[in-house]
Symmetry: C2
Subunit: 425 residues, 2 copies
C-alpha cells in the first residue's frame, strides 16, 4: 500500500533562484517519500486520507547544509580572533585531536546530532575527523536521527600536528578503506561516506593519488575546501607548483567534479580560470558567508556564480560559522552580498530573499539529487514552521513572513520536520 502524506498549510518553495512559488492555504501531497503535487483543495482521490492540518503555519522544503564540521560544534562561538591558518593551528586542530577518544566523541557528537535534528537542516555534508571509530560513531547517531547525510572521515598527512595527522599516505589509505568498508557493512539507509581530503595543504600528492583510487573503487563523492584565504592560496601554490591554480590541484587527482560529484567550500578568491573550471566540471560551491566574515577571509562573488548557473548552496561551516541555523546562513549571504556590493564591486547586485532561500533549499539540495523543492518527484524533505513567536499579527503576506523568518527564526520555529517522507518530530 502506498505511503501517502497530506499536509495542509501555507506552502512556499523555489523552482528557480528568481522567484518563490507560493501556495496559500493549500495541501502538499507526498507519496512514498516523493512529492506528488500541491492542491488548493483536497482532490477526490485523496479524500479518504486524514490530512495533517498545520493551519496558518508555513511549510517549506528542508534545507541542506553543504559544509559543516561536526567535531567543531563543541567550540562554536569561541576563538574568532584569527585568520584561517592560525585559527586551524590554535583552536581547531587541538579540538579535533580530542576525537581520538570515543568517550569524548560520544558526548560531543550526541549534542551535535541532537541540535542538528532540531534545526532547519534535513541534509548535510559533514566533515568528521581523521579518527575512523569516532566517525563511525557519529554516523551511527546520524542514521538514528533520520537526517540524510554524507559524512567524511577526514584525511590529512602533512602540515598538521602529530596528534591530528595520519602517519603516512599508506596508513591513511588503508584506514580510510577500512572505514569505507565498515560504512558499507553498516548498510545505513540515510548516511553515506564521502571522501574528505581536508584541503591541499594537509594532503600530500601521494595521499591524493591513493584517495583517487579509493574514490574510483567505491564510487565516492568528494568534499573539500577551496580558495578561502589569500595565505592559504599562496601556500597551495608553493606546495603544488605544478598546479595552474588551487582547484587544479584537486582536478589533477580527478577530485574536482566531472564524473566525481564534488563540493568545494568557500571559493572566495577563485580566479576566472578556476570559476570556469568549476562551471565546466559541475563542481558544487558551498557558500559560507558567516565563516568567511568571522575568519576575515572576505566575501565570495555569489552573484557571479548565480549568473553563470553554477551549482551553489549554503554551508554553516560550524565552527568558523557560529550557528547550525540555515536561516541565519541565508541572512548572512544576503548581508555579505550587500557589503560586497558597497565596498568591493558595485557591478554585482546583492542577493534577493528569493535567491537566498533558493540557495538553502534547492541550490544545495541538488547535491543529493531531487531535493529541496516541492516539484513533482522531489524527495519529501519538509519543514513546518510556526512563526507565532516572531510574527506580527497584522502580517499576512507570506513572502514577508518568510523574510522575517530568515532574519529572526531559529530552532524554536521548527514545528515539524520530515526527511524523505519520514517524520522526525
Amino acid at each position: 500500500m502506498d505511503n501517502i502524506l497530506v499536509l495542509h498549510g501555507n506552502i512556499l518553495f523555489s523552482k528557480n533562484s528568481k522567484e518563490l512559488s507560493i501556495h496559500k492555504d493549500s495541501y502538499l501531497v507526498s507519496i512514498n517519500g516523493l512529492i506528488d503535487a500541491i492542491y488548493n483543495e483536497i482532490p477526490p482521490h485523496l479524500k479518504d486520507y486524514v490530512y495533517k492540518d498545520y493551519g496558518d503555519r508555513i511549510i517549506i522544503p528542508g534545507m541542506t547544509d553543504l559544509h559543516i564540521h561536526a567535531p567543531q560544534y563543541a567550540f562554536q562561538g569561541i576563538g574568532m580572533d584569527l585568520e584561517l591558518l592560525d585559527w586551524l593551528n590554535t583552536y581547531t586542530f587541538p579540538e579535533e585531536s580530542k576525537y581520538s577518544s570515543l568517550t569524548y566523541a560520544q558526548k560531543a557528537y550526541t549534542n551535535f546530532v541532537e541540535r542538528l535534528r532540531k534545526s532547519t537542516t534535513t541534509r548535510a555534508c559533514i566533515f568528521a575527523t581523521i579518527h575512523e571509530d569516532s566517525t563511525l560513531l557519529l554516523m551511527d547517531m546520524l542514521e538514528k536521527s533520520n537526517l540524510s547525510t554524507l559524512v567524511g572521515k577526514v584525511n590529512m598527512d602533512r602540515n598538521s600536528p602529530d596528534s591530528l595527522r595520519e602517519e603516512s599516505a599508506s596508513i591513511a589509505f588503508s584506514n580510510t578503506e577500512k572505514f569505507i568498508l565498515n560504512v558499507l557493512d553498516k548498510n545505513y539507509k540515510n548516511t553515506k561516506a564521502i571522501l574528505t581530503p581536508r584541503f591541499i595543504p594537509s594532503c600530500s600528492d601521494e595521499l591524493m593519488t591513493k584517495l583517487q583510487s579509493l574514490k574510483d573503487k567505491y564510487d565516492l563523492c568528494v568534499q573539500s575546501h577551496l580558495s578561502e584565504n589569500p595565505s592559504e592560496i599562496a601556500w597551495v601554490q608553493e606546495l603544488c607548483p605544478w598546479s595552474s591554480f588551487y582547484g587544479d590541484a584537486y582536478d589533477k587527482f580527478n577530485m574536482f567534479g566531472r564524473n566525481t560529484k564534488t563540493i568545494m567550500a568557500h571559493c572566495v578568491y577563485s580566479p576566472s580560470i578556476e570559476i570556469e573550471r568549476m562551471k565546466e566540471n559541475g563542481v558544487f560551491i558551498a557558500h559560507c558567508p558567516e565563516s568567511n566574515i568571522n575568519l576575515s577571509s572576505g566575501i565570495a562573488p555569489i552573484r557571479t556564480f548565480l549568473d553563470k548557473d553554477m551549482h551553489i548552496g549554503l554551508g554553516s561551516d560550524v565552527a568558523a560559522g557560529t550557528t547550525l541555523n540555515l536561516f541565519k546562513a541565508i541572512a548572512y549571504a544576503i548581508q555579505a552580498s550587500k557589503i560586497r556590493w558597497r565596498l568591493q564591486d558595485s557591478s554585482l547586485n546583492p542577493l534577493t530573499v528569493a535567491e537566498g532561500f533558493y540557495l538553502a533549499t534547492k541550490g544545495g539540495g541538488e547535491f543529493f539529487g531531487k531535493v529541496g523543492s516541492f516539484e513533482q518527484g522531489y524527495e519529501s524533505d519538509i519543514l513546518v514552521l510556526d512563526d507565532t513567536r516572531i510574527n506580527h499579527s497584522e502580517l499576512q503576506d507570506l513572502e514577508k513572513r518568510l523574510e522575517r523568518m530568515i532574519y529572526l527564526a531559529d530552532e524554536r520555529e521548527v514545528f515539524a520536520k520530515y526527511v524523505k517522507g519520514t517524520q522526525l518530530f
Copy 2:
C-alpha cells in the same frame, strides 16, 4: 536603612576598551543602587546579608542600546531590499504613520516593551514617532517596565508623507513643548524625554531653530542620525548649502554636543572634519553595524573612533537592524570591522571581543552617566546570564564563555536583570 544587594557568581566587566576585568567566583555588592565593590569572599561587615547565589552563572553590567526605533519593532526583519531613503519611504514612514492610532500603538508598543524588558538591554535611547499621545503611552509602559530610557517624540516637518509630517514648524514646536510638559508632569523615575529631530532632511531650518530654543529651555539631550548613506549626505548638502558638512548642520543649531549631550547614529561616512568636530564637541556615536549592512550603507570606521578616545556605543537600530539583542550587535560590530579591514582599509584592525563588549556596556552606558561598569559608584545595572543551553561542559575559561555568548546568546540566557539596583526579574 541602606538597600544592600550581594550577588554571587562569575563577574565580568570593562574598565576600558582594552581588557576585561574578570572575577571568578566572587561577590558583587551594591548599596542603594550603586556598585560598592567586588569581593572574593563575603567581608565581615556584610556577613548578615543574605546573598543571592547565582552559582556558576555569569554576571555582567547591563547593556545600553544607543539607537532604536520603537515603532519599527513591529516590522523588523521585513523589507531589507532597499537603501536608506527608499526604505524610509516604502516601509518605514507608512508603518510609523499607524501610530496616530492609540489602539495600534497600545498593541505594538506592549509587545516592544515586553521584549525589551526581557533582553540584555537595561538602558536605551529610543525614537518614537511624531505622535505625542502614543509616545506618552510608550513612556508609561517603559516606566512601568523599570528599564531606564530616554524617549523622543520625533520631529519632522518636510520631505515626509502627509500622514507623517508635522504641519508647520510652529505646530511642531507647540506640540513638542506640550509633550515635554506632559512628560515633566508625569514625574517618571526612569523615563525621560530626549529631543529628536529625525534627521536634517526631515527638519526645516525654522524647525531646528525652534527645537534649539526648546532644548535650551528644558535642558534636553538630543538624538539624531548622521552620515549614514551617500545619497543622504548629498541631499543634506543640497538642503543646507550653508553647512560645511552634515554634522555642521546640527552644530549650527547647537545640537551637536558641546553643552548639549548628543547621540548621532551611524557616522559611516563622516569626513575627518566631522570626526574632529564630534571629538571636540564630545558627541556620542551610536554604531549600528547590522543596520548599516542591511541597508547596504557601509561600515563605520569604529577603530578610528576608538583610537581617538571618542564616545561610542552600540545601537540595535531596529528595524533596519533585525534584533534587540545587543549580544548580536557586538557580534555584528566585530564581524563588520573584520570585513572592513579586509575589503576597505587594512590599516584599521578589527575589534576584539573586549572592545565589542566595552562598546555595549560602558561605552554606550556613559551617555547615562556612571553606567555600564562595576567600578565603584556606577549605577547597579546588572545582568545574570545562564549559559547552560549554549555552554560546552568542558569550557571553563570565563572570557571564552563570554565570547560564546556574544555569538550564541539571546534573551533565553538572561536569567536575572537589575536596573539601578531594582530587580526586573
